[in-house]
């Protein structure tokens, strides 16, 4: 089946990501649960709860066992969870002697949640390395374009000159923060789930905490203060991170679409997208996916947070809602990171067009520059009013703003020098440096 573009073959390379999907699909879920059952047996042997030999046998079998997802479907439909059916399969596979020691004292949620954490750890490793690569690519481009002058645009209007390097540095800055955030989130997220039937570990007598610690060590996960069966803030926080990352990439994508418009034409980013009827088209499909994936994740984020208030000691509703949303978010963010890197590494920048667009406005983009230059010779409100009137005249007449101003005032301003956008870039370079430094450059 392939209901969502995140599953299936058709959109696999556009919107999905095979590497990440492989961490979340049926097979990966079964594999992770078996891994937890294996580790549980070993930990319980270490704590003296079950016999050593049985534990080793269970671990060995569990780590090799292949279970067809379809074989668990009926059990899952009945129980709402795949664990009872999976435990039954595992018991059959380990044979009569070891069977009693399988899944000892655990509850299904211990297995499913810990299995999820294992898969999230793998997914986060992939995402972290993609994030690093994207940061590097952006840092390279920011450096490369620190001298590429272009129009800054505020509220869709040309505002003042800026550089493409500064724009890229602004794209980069939040990604550095996302890297920091991920480091903070990991210890709260990569935590064992283990509480037994309802969180007291009662089936393990007085050895509950000891098994909990041994199991966490076995799986290289942190030990929680207590089971988090219905305390899902860790997952909500992860979802927030995934959505923030994709949102920051959505901003990049949105900017690329705007810069690639026919009438702007300053950047081409992965624009291979052809039309079935218009031979001239080169659509910014990669950039568009970044915005779409961002909006998708923002929607799912709300559902993950709606899933946080889970009832009592286990809640089938909120828990199920997580399954329906969180894996998709992880893949969407992963696909966005991959697409973003491809786009950034293959940027084609038309510096001449940037310059041309900047100069097409008869100098209006330098209105602020003119008003501050005049403010050296008259009160600033007066300067602003003078420039505002000159802007209107320039727009109406098609004459250059500086020519209009020169005619309107005899303030001793160097009007020729003011015509150069590259002379009105303020601290653009210093700001780029500040970001590059945080990104780990020089």
């Amino acid at each position: 089946m392939s209901l969502s573009p995140l599953d299936g073959a058709l959109y696999a390379d556009l919107l999905s990501d095979a590497e990440l999907v492989a961490r979340f699909d049926d097979a990966a879920q079964i594999r992770a649960m078996l891994e937890v059952e294996a580790a549980l047996a070993l930990a319980e042997a270490k704590a003296g709860v079950i016999p050593d030999a049985a534990a080793k046998h269970i671990a060995k079998v569990a780590r090799k066992l292949e279970i067809d997802p379809a074989a668990l479907a009926a059990g899952t439909a009945k129980d709402g969870i795949p664990v009872p059916a999976l435990v039954e399969e595992l018991r059959r596979a380990v044979g009569e002697d070891s069977a009693p020691y399988v899944h000892w004292g655990a509850t299904s949620q211990d297995i499913i949640d810990t299995g999820l954490v294992l898969r999230l750890r793998a997914a986060l490793d992939i995402q972290a390395s993609r994030l690093d690569a994207l940061i590097a690519a952006l840092a390279d481009q920011a450096e490369a374009h620190r001298g590429t002058v272009m129009a800054a645009r505020t509220r869709a209007q040309q505002a003042t000159p800026t550089t493409f390097g500064l724009k890229i540095a602004a794209w980069l800055a939040p990604l550095i923060r996302h890297r920091e955030r991920l480091a903070e989130i990991r210890p709260r997220l990569l935590v064992l789930q283990f509480g037994g039937a309802s969180g007291t570990l009662a089936a393990l007598g007085d050895k509950g905490v000891r098994v909990m610690e041994a199991l966490a060590a076995e799986l290289d996960l942190a030990v929680p203060p207590l089971p988090w069966h219905t305390q899902r803030d860790g997952l909500a926080e992860l979802a927030g991170w995934l959505s923030m990352v994709s949102a920051s990439l959505g901003k990049i994508g949105g900017d690329l679409v705007l810069l690639a418009q026919s009438e702007v034409g300053e950047v081409r980013a992965g624009q291979a997208g052809g039309s079935s009827t218009m031979p001239q088209k080169a659509n910014p499909v990669g950039a568009e996916t970044l915005v779409a994936l961002a909006r998708f994740n923002a929607g799912l984020l709300a559902a993950v947070h709606q899933a946080v208030p889970q009832a009592q000691e286990r809640d089938g509703v909120g828990w199920t809602l997580e399954w329906l949303t969180l894996p998709q978010m992880a893949v969407a963010t992963g696909a966005a990171l991959r697409n973003a890197r491809t786009l950034i590494e293959s940027l084609e920048v038309d510096a001449a067009r940037m310059r041309g667009n900047l100069e097409a406005g008869n100098g209006l983009i330098l209105a602020e520059a003119a008003s501050f230059a005049l403010a050296a010779h008259m009160p600033r409100p007066e300067a602003q009013a003078l420039v505002k009137a000159a802007c209107a005249e320039a727009a109406a007449s098609g004459r250059h703003l500086m020519d209009v101003l020169e005619a309107r005032t005899d303030a001793p301003v160097d009007w020729q020098a003011l015509r150069d956008p590259a002379a009105y870039l303020g601290d653009a370079d210093a700001l780029i440096d500040r970001v590059l430094k945080r990104a780990g450059r020089n």
Copy 2:
């Protein structure tokens, strides 16, 4: 791959629905697009745009052609849409003579959107018939339980007596409205998309509207006033309907979970859900899925509405966002309808427990009844105050409210008669009849 529980085998019978997934998966999408290309050729022949023989040949080939989704993946990743690659495959399949007439004058979005509409039509047929079956099942149960007295609960507290039949009638009432709504939505949704490159039908010269009408007739779809490439209110309305339906089912599911609590125990609804460690458990997993699917759809609904403001004449962002959300919503609602019917048809009602719970409160649930009975003999605020004080005494002492009241007042009230909850059901029966009548029962 199987990222989402709506895809894959593991959760197929719990959260997903094979019959509906089959309307939306890669294969169905390709099939629907080929169907549109076939109909387009025939319509254009009818309008004299392309040769009749070519059209018939294209239609015949397109209707039989099997295309492996993976074969279109590279093209889809490049173009953002599968159509150019699909058209190429179709051209190859029809051979050199007819190839030029394939996809004549259409744009990719015409094919994808119309293909989606065809698939939605099939999905809605399934959902409509499930809705009918559920309405019938609820009507049967409302009728069967019109005499089953139980406690109504407002804000989690026992309020007054009611009947289980009236509760079921209340579950049923919105479903009748959803059926009406669906009838209203269909003509706005089941509409051809056909506008050519950017909505003017220019490639068809003066035959655009004629082809549009012929194509709509061929596919048995309505003709839109003009192409709706970036006017997506029809899809947003559908998403709203899907979410409303699943939300109404979520209310049923939520009630069933509450009624099935150990301490309430009035109803068991499909409670086969076993635990991996607690032998006594029978979890209400089916009912829980209804709530989870409702909350999932409500989250996706926001994303679909976020996709409505699409830019200019075609918007890759919003359009992609629809693909990521709408099919999942359709399947979630379909699964919820199926699960709800199973639950309703297999309800096990414990009328004795209902009665027991009603009577466990020392008559407090009849406080309103007592206050209105007293109001015949004293001002109602005074009656209310008297009953309120008696409630406190009854709660503290464990005596029956009517006994307490009898001791506190000599108002000539028939306290014995007031003890019977079945005597304080007001218009429950008439209200059930009103709903059943709207459901088509008489």
Copy 3:
């Protein structure tokens, strides 16, 4: 207080709407509840439940009573609802004799929900008339600009020629559907809430349905099949409508922002927005509000749908959630309708700039036209390939596409005629007419 821009003075004319806020503020809520209490008394007198004289007195007093919202705050905080405190005030105001008959047999939710319906009716009347006015304004502009040729843009790229009239007609089309939808929604929404304590009308003995009908008649509302205390689909449907309307306006706003970009400059729509530092700026702030309000409503819509699955016979959670969301949505949509009309009526269109942008691309926008012209003389795939190559050459060389094509083929095409964008508009006019007809024009 003024926490939200929808409240308060600061943003009142930008994002909010005094006329609509006045339907939803504290005072309006109290007024509507008193109106329901008045009507209830009259209806119950008519049904013989309470004395005629008391009913008339209650109605008269209730309709004039002014209650300071702050006076109900403590009661509301205690009870979760303002009704008990309000009933107490009303009882005090009517005096000892009539006091017992106030609020007879009703539950708080009857009063609050019916009061909300009354306020929604007033709000929908305002919105309906704004929608009509906007439809008229768009129809006028579509008519006025049916000959204004411009570039259609798909996926942010110039696609083919179109007309501004057709673009406006596309903006208009969904609004006509929203008008239809509103007509369908009204009878499901403008419905009395009346069920007594828990929906059985038990306190009214055998007169429940009679009072229900009389009360609905008194308030000119429809009679529901049964109380809808926890069946909230009507409100969810309304929220969907509000969000759809604002989303369609968000699409208009988004297009206006794009058309107003410095590099496009084809339309100015209410662009008074000044900058505190850039004298030349004229920001499209009105258009931006349309997109912001659309995204706001889409987010709230999810919350309203999350509120639908309400527990049992009354649910404080979902009900409260409606109060937090629905009124804001109504005001946001109302403000959007007002802002949209202002924008549309004051559109300044630069037809020369439209033409200029169209022609700036060396004829690339006519690539489809050229390919269909050539397809009369060679197989269409061959024609497409030829045009594609010519596009690349034209883009690289800066020569006009038709010149390049003329040099590359001796197919007998009238290349001069093909240069005229106005000759490649297909059925634009006929499509505009189809929409105008549905809008009620001739």
Copy 4:
């Protein structure tokens, strides 16, 4: 005006919070902006950009100036932002000599965003102290109830015994993490916004970074790497935190509602909520608000994340969307923290009812205990099967599970000892200690 229950008087003490609203209303917004203008003048004097005397005068006037929000409404509606009108008022107030130096080199967004950060800082201080108080209250209750035995409930069914202390410790655990998270978020959020017209600080010549640093010092805010005009991850992260906190409180509220049900009756939490018609009712309105506010925030969270992908150097759409959502979230979380503390501090626990509910199930809740006791004498799957059969018999016959088991097996189990729920609490105490330790108790 008072559109939302978060504004206005009616719901002020139920759903809103005067202390927090006062940080976000019109007056607070104006005050914060004037504070920023004051600090800007001082910082620019320090950097030698404007004269010292003018700066001091501006600062003094700005800090005292009272501006009626309504006086800025027209300007705000025109410009989309209140800053130009506010700057004009401030210029008028400082008089002709200093007027030119007001708002020197800043852009409106610098003032609005920094003003927001100042207000968020104050709001977070309030929330942090409420969070501390709530943590302390929960720690007290967890300690107090570590010996209060009750039924754990998973998926709405009694599962095994637990203690109320452990349940409270589980409520507490995420709040400790939220405190950690807040500490991590602060340095990323409490950051100056300062970039001038489009983020280059060009109007300040070579003194941009120096002014930026001086201004940050003046306001005791961190210096960003570069302006974050369209990099809104800090606000999205805050929104996530606000939603996580309210979601964790929503979980507490939801549990309290369930525990307060008539049929459960184990806890009363602030249950003053009266009914207008049912004298016996005591509704858990405070607990319900926690769930409602959680669901409200989760919905708004999506909107805040939708606002992150902001276009180019300033985006009126996303920015406006933040204003519509973020302050409401801050107040909703603040109100939830206050309500939660009231509820926790006033918990009335009915330990006897807890014990009674635990024992009402004929020992079924000890089925896991029995199966592990038997597993000492037979393979565990066999033990589980035996117990499962015994559970069915106990449920059907009404006999105690241990009696049934004793009759079914001669395994040497101490059946009498197994009847005591307090003997099957596993590591509940140790787990409580782990949480209390993290909460700072020792």
